[in-house]
């Protein structure tokens, strides 16, 4: 397809790589002509997914996190993948305020933020295998009269 473009990044699950990953995804999507707000939304959603992979998926051990991005027209698809602990009950995990680490800041709101800042989110997870967070956002339609 003409207006398709793909990239993938993979990095150690260190929190010092969160900024790099955010910038990489944001830089990739600049070709979609996003507004500052769209970029900020995207960064927030990605940060939450990465933080989850680091803290919950790998419980702070260092393994690989992978982010796949695809642009199809005005749609940006982002998938954040870890091969960590997995989630036994995805539906429950996605409920606002549900958390297995209540001592953390903003407890239990990560998935809620991802839902709020992206247009679609689907989580696929298997205990002992890992977690994939699939997100989609329409980007760069602000300047079109039909947006």
């Amino acid at each position: 397809m003409e207006n398709t473009n793909e990239m993938m990044i993979e990095f150690d699950s260190r929190s010092c790589n969160e900024g790099f990953a955010r910038v990489a995804v944001a830089a990739f999507c600049t070709q979609m002509n996003p507004t500052l707000e769209e970029v900020a939304d995207l960064k927030t959603a990605i940060s939450e997914a990465i933080t989850n992979a680091i803290i919950h998926g790998y419980e702070n051990e260092i393994h690989k996190i992978r982010i796949e991005c695809k642009i199809v027209g005005h749609d940006l698809y982002v998938t954040v993948i870890d091969h960590g602990k997995g989630i036994p009950d995805v539906k429950k995990a996605m409920e606002p305020l549900f958390t297995t680490k209540p001592e953390m800041e903003r407890s239990g709101m990560g998935f809620a933020f991802m839902e709020a800042f992206m247009d679609e989110i689907a989580v696929v997870s298997q205990p002992g295998v890992g977690t994939e967070v699939h997100m989609k956002k329409r980007v760069g339609c602000g300047s079109s009269p039909f947006a």
């Binding site: 600049t30 900020a40 602000g142």
Partner: protein, 77 residues
């Protein structure tokens, strides 16, 4: 090596970098100004054209305001 670098910079092939902090400041101001003019939110591309910085560098500069400790080293030189 110094010669080659100087040649490239004088040639404008390598833009002598503005600091990320400068770029972030300019981007925010340009964003506000353009949004007023256009009556809608300015895009990253519009901002990057306005201030003459690659769109990806605008992204990198704005990252510094996302996460204060991130990029501190580059910003503070």
């Amino acid at each position: 090596v110094g010669e080659i670098k100087r040649f490239l910079r004088d040639d404008g092939i390598i833009k002598v970098s503005r600091s990320l902090k400068q770029i972030a400041g300019q981007a925010k101001k340009a964003g506000e100004r353009l949004s007023k003019e256009l009556g809608r939110e300015a895009t990253i591309l519009e901002i990057s054209e306005e201030i003459g910085v690659d769109r990806e560098d605008v992204i990198m500069a704005l990252e510094s305001s996302y996460h204060p400790e991130y990029l501190y080293s580059v910003i503070h030189q």
